[in-house]
């Protein structure tokens, strides 16, 4: 016999469910979300989809415009560069470098930042103050300068950019998490939990962390878009990925020389970066506004 509900009971969804509902109610955010999924697929399977190898030169098809141009061909959907390399294939491979690399860097920086931030957030006094000064100093070095410093030590190259951008991002995570924990620590429910006899670890994991996740999430989306822009900017300046690499920023830089005769060499990778960063920012924005009602 089915249970009959006598009282009109409100169904209370779980927090993550509520978050998703609030998030998906925003069409921009949803669009961004699908765009990010799309990019992830490209980053993972791009090399399988790409019709050519990114470094294959077709001497018969140099500086071919994209296919919608009367002079373009379907074989090279987005045209070719001055060495006859297929732009479409290069963009697909480049997704792995620019977007994939950004994700990797952020994941590393997040892991590192989380541990340091959590440890420092739970401590007080001198240690915490020293760390906070250290972070202020590191934060005051803009990511690009940090990258220049790393490049000066190690020489340019995509691997070094991993360290450069990672080093620049980690302090941001540390600081955001440190501050979020610090703020929570001062709230009364923490004191209540402490009075209940919870030890530091329990307080950290069961009391504070659920309230810090949203900071982490927001910081992560911010960091991903910052990382992409940094990787691309470094590639553009010739400090990151080097010449034949299909990293998007490096592609723009290689296209600059032909800006006047073949503007698509700059436009297309630029649009790819814009699209990616925009998608991530849309998701980040959506998440932030979806989280706000929960936070209040």
């Amino acid at each position: 016999m089915p249970r009959i509900s006598i009282y009109q009971e409100d169904h209370i969804p779980s927090p993550s469910r509520r978050l998703w509902e609030a998030f998906s109610a925003n069409p921009f955010a949803l669009a961004g979300f699908w765009a990010v999924i799309f990019l992830l697929i490209i980053a993972l399977f791009g090399p399988l989809i790409a019709p050519y190898s990114p470094e294959m030169q077709d001497p018969k098809a140099m500086l071919l415009p994209p296919s919608w141009d009367p002079a373009g061909t379907v074989e090279h959907f987005l045209g070719t560069d001055d060495l006859g390399r297929d732009i479409f294939s290069r963009l697909l491979y480049g997704a792995q470098l620019t977007f994939g690399m950004a994700l990797l860097i952020v994941a590393t920086a997040l892991g590192l930042g989380f541990v340091i931030g959590a440890l420092s957030g739970m401590t007080r006094g001198l240690k915490s103050s020293v760390l906070s000064h250290l972070l202020d100093a590191l934060l005051s070095i803009p990511s690009l300068l940090m990258a220049i410093l790393v490049v000066a030590v190690t020489g340019p190259g995509l691997e070094n950019i991993f360290w450069a951008v990672g080093l620049a991002l980690t302090p941001q995570f540390v600081r955001a998490i440190h501050q979020a924990i610090h703020e929570e620590l001062q709230k009364e429910y923490v004191t209540a939990a402490r009075l209940d006899g919870a030890n530091s670890l329990q307080i950290f994991w069961y009391v504070i962390m659920p309230n810090v996740w949203d900071t982490v999430i927001i910081q992560t989306t911010l960091a991903i878009s910052a990382a992409i822009l940094d990787i691309a900017a470094l590639g553009f300046l010739g400090l990151g990925a080097q010449a034949p690499s299909p990293e998007w920023g490096a592609m723009v830089s290689q296209g600059v020389d032909n800006l006047l005769i073949a503007p698509w060499l700059v436009t297309l990778p630029g649009l790819a970066i814009l699209f990616t960063v925009l998608a991530i920012n849309l998701v980040g924005d959506g998440l932030r506004s979806a989280l706000t009602p929960i936070r209040n």
Partner: protein
């Protein structure tokens, strides 16, 4: 307040010391001889070597080396550039004004346009306006700055031919350097073509400043909008409405001053990213500022230039962010109250 200022000063000194430590360690890791990395003299004579060892206490302990390094650098001795053999400090004095000029013009543009539009966005009830402004700012926020710069110079420089896209001034104008700010120097120059040189300087700064302004502009719009929307629901605004004040009056007198406080704060947070953008913009538009100089330095593996460039820029950022923090506290009585409850 005095105690607060003292704490900020302390923060500035401590942060700078850490920064210098980072540079001090990095100098040791450069792939050149330590003496060369410190002084920039590539084939030093015996005498110069002795001098370097003495000046940087290279025979002393790690700590005394650090102290000597601090003394040298903060005393203005940054060695000579490895490529030009000129004093790095002298080169810095040459390039810094151009960067300041660009940044000041950019900030004025971003604030002058960003605040009104942010206010407009907050006051508008139409969903469409709000969405358009949000979409625009989000796009502006996501645009890779080098691509924006290239596209603008392609359109306005090459295709339309309206604006120059490189440098500060047509090089045929020979303007004596007084303040280092070309916009001012051209005006006070005692030449028959002073006025046309000034116009030329204005034209030259439009594209780089616009490119660089897009990012701070979007941040200002977003923050102003959020702050305004918040302030407009406050009781004192409703009280002002009840007294029958006009909307313009309420916005200008009551709401805006309060809404600008978070804008100020956000500017401090934005400094780092803004500097990165400025470096890229200087490179694209061949703006002879510290960013372009630094990037050239790295292309040429000019380690003294790299070091000093990073040092000066980072010190400026530390100083500016603390200054903004102080201003923020000075203008905001609320934050003064909760100063340093813990930590």
């Amino acid at each position: 307040m005095a105690k607060y200022l003292l704490r900020r000063l302390n923060l500035f000194l401590a942060t700078s010391a850490v920064l210098m430590l980072v540079l001090f360690l990095a100098t040791r890791m450069f792939p050149v001889d330590l003496g060369v990395a410190l002084t920039g003299v590539e084939q030093p004579t015996q005498e110069q070597q002795q001098q370097t060892i003495k000046a940087y206490a290279l025979d002393g302990s790690g700590f005394s080396q650090y102290v000597a390094f601090l003394q040298q650098r903060l005393g203005g001795n940054m060695g000579i550039s490895m490529t030009s053999q000129q004093s790095v400090a002298g080169e810095l004095v040459d390039v810094l004004p151009a960067s300041f000029e660009l940044i000041i013009v950019t900030s004025l543009m971003a604030l002058a346009l960003g605040i009104p539009i942010g206010v407009l966005a907050a006051l508008s009830n139409s969903k469409a306006t709000q969405n358009v402004i949000m979409a625009l700012t989000l796009t502006g926020y996501s645009i890779p700055v080098f691509w924006l710069g290239l596209s603008l110079s392609l359109w306005f420089g090459v295709k339309l031919g309206w604006l120059p896209i490189s440098g500060q001034l047509n090089l045929l104008y020979e303007i004596p350097r007084v303040t280092g700010f070309v916009l001012i120097d051209t005006l006070i120059a005692d030449t028959p073509y002073s006025m046309s040189a000034f116009k030329d300087a204005v034209l030259h700064i439009i594209l780089p400043a616009t490119t660089l302004a897009v990012f701070p502009f979007t941040v200002v719009v977003r923050i102003t909008r959020a702050a305004m929307a918040n302030v407009m629901t406050q009781t004192y605004v409703r009280a002002a409405e009840a007294r029958g004040l006009s909307t313009a009056m309420i916005v200008l007198r009551h709401a805006l001053p309060n809404a600008l406080i978070p804008v100020l704060k956000s500017m401090g947070l934005m400094l780092g990213a803004f500097t990165s953008y400025a470096i890229v913009v200087e490179v694209i538009f061949s703006w002879p500022g510290v960013g372009a100089w630094l990037v050239q330095g790295i292309y040429q593996r000019d380690y003294t230039v790299i070091q000093s460039g990073i040092m000066v820029v980072a010190l400026l950022i530390i100083f500016m962010s603390i200054l903004i923090d102080v201003l923020h506290t000075a203008t905001n009585p609320l934050s003064r109250k909760e100063l340093y409850a813990t930590n």
